[in-house]
């Protein structure tokens, strides 16, 4: 079986279970919304202030939400040991991780797309003129959070202090992606909006490196 087929089957399963429970999407949406609203009260959201702080706050909120959202993606496979059933299926083990990365990216992106107008309204920013480029940054930044987050969710799911372990592992490792995403987003809200190519390249390189490492060592992530 090719790699694409099991990834597609498992991706569909992730969507179906999430559609039934709405655990990940709702918790992500609510968490980011609360953080954005609370931050908007801490300073006067004039255009100049928002340009300085808005992108950083947005990505920090998404990073924290990601660390919350990604945690259950493997722990909910533990209730009936369904991961054992997946590992026993005649498929490449990395396809299980890849399907989860894909699904987590989709859930985060959907939450971000819903929250973007709220972010723009609260922080007095005009996103429509730069929407296409902003979505490009969102996709690369979200992929970074999903790839690293899913991998470490798999690792930490078998640990005793897993709830604490995931953010502790995730936040330092995602710092380069966080900086690059915030800088790339900030460039879009300058007087002369421009997509910072260097930061986009950093994000693309980050995604490529971690995706390759996941590809190479994916099967070891799921072992007992």
């Amino acid at each position: 079986m090719s790699l694409a087929r099991p990834i597609g089957i498992l991706f569909e399963k992730e969507l179906r279970t999430e559609f039934r429970t709405r655990e990940l999407l709702v918790s992500t949406f609510v968490f980011v919304l609360i953080v954005l609203v609370l931050f908007s009260f801490t300073f006067d959201p004039t255009t100049a202030e928002s340009r300085r702080f808005g992108p950083g706050l947005l990505w920090l909120a998404l990073l924290f939400a990601g660390s919350l959202m990604l945690h259950p993606s493997f722990t909910r496979e533990q209730s009936n040991e369904t991961l054992v059933a997946l590992r026993m299926a005649p498929i490449e083990p990395v396809s299980i991780v890849a399907a989860k990365i894909l699904a987590n990216s989709c859930f985060l992106l959907v939450a971000e797309l819903i929250l973007l107008p709220v972010f723009a309204a609260l922080y007095n920013l005009r996103i429509l003129p730069v929407l296409g480029r902003l979505i490009a940054v969102m996709i690369l930044g979200t992929l970074a959070i999903s790839i690293v987050g899913t991998v470490f969710a798999a690792i930490s799911s078998q640990a005793r202090m897993r709830e604490l372990l995931l953010p502790l592992l995730l936040l330092p490792l995602l710092t380069p992606a966080l900086v690059a995403s915030a800088e790339a987003t900030a460039g879009l809200f300058e007087d002369q909006p421009a997509l910072p190519v260097v930061w986009m390249a950093v994000l693309a390189a980050f995604d490529t490196i971690f995706l390759t490492v996941t590809w190479l060592f994916g099967e070891y992530l799921l072992e007992e």
Binding site: M1, R5, P6, I9, L10, K13, R16, T17, R20, T21, S79, N80, E81, T82, V84, A85, L86, R87, M88, A89, P90, I91, E92, P93, V94, E219, E223, E224
Partner: protein, 238 residues
């Protein structure tokens, strides 16, 4: 299949210690022994779910070993021929019975997954509940569905860890009849058991494990029935 000098260690503790066994096609092997004797670990090693600390598991038909081939096409070919029923049901609570079976039928690349799923639900007595979420099933129904999932791809090797758990009398009769038919058809079965229930009827060989080693094997000492009866008596006493 054969376990060759197989050991598995978790930290300082040995779950299996130098187990060597050869199991012929069509044998129905019962693993008996007290809790913590290594029965489940041996089944997991046979299912390619754990990497042995030393030794190996060989599958003569595919000429492959466990622990070194995980993920490659050879390993996939072996996995395709194995069915596993664990302590847990290995099914998704938030999917229906039919959706669960279709998911695994598709992962095993079976023809007409929907038909295979419906075909498996009937004999398990779950056809009427095909559209219900697994989370709403009783323990016995969940176990029936777990067994149906394990049989979905017509495996040549069945690994059962306490398969009668949660089954009522009728369910045990169904499982016993199913196992008898599978063994008659040449399927190899290895199951851990306390010696009770309908499943014991089809056992052709019993192996008693103690502290991760094979303490007694009816292939050499004879008396599989006597060993099962002794295991049942020890279990009831415990």
């Amino acid at each position: 299949m054969a376990f060759i000098d197989l050991s598995k260690r978790y930290g300082p503790r040995f779950a299996l210690r130098g187990v060597s066994l050869s199991i012929a096609p069509g044998e129905c092997v019962a693993l008996v022994g007290p809790n913590g004797s290594g029965k489940t670990t041996l089944l997991k090693a046979a299912a390619l779910l754990i990497r042995p600390s030393s030794g190996r598991v060989e599958f003569s038909a595919a000429g492959a070993q466990s622990g070194v081939t995980n993920g490659d096409s050879n390993s996939c070919a072996i996995k395709r021929s194995i069915g596993f029923v664990s302590h847990s049901i290995l099914l998704y609570d938030d999917l229906t019975a039919e959706e669960n079976l279709i998911l695994f039928a598709r992962l095993y690349a079976l023809d007409s997954p929907e038909d295979r799923a419906r075909g498996a639900l009937g004999p398990a007595g779950l056809a009427a509940r095909a559209g219900d979420l697994v989370r709403n099933f009783s323990r016995g129904m969940r176990q029936r569905l777990a067994i149906a999932r394990a049989l979905l791809a017509s495996p040549r090797l069945l690994l059962f860890d306490e398969p009668s758990t949660g089954l009522d009398r009728e369910g045990q009769q169904w499982l016993g009849a199913t196992l008898t038919a599978l063994v008659a058809g040449g399927c190899t079965v290895i199951m851990s058991t306390h010696g009770a229930g309908e499943t014991a009827a089809c056992v052709t060989r019993a192996i008693r494990m103690v502290s991760g080693v094979v303490a007694e094997d009816s292939a050499f000492s004879g008396g599989a029935r006597a060993m099962l009866a002794a295991a049942l008596a020890a279990h009831e006493e415990a």
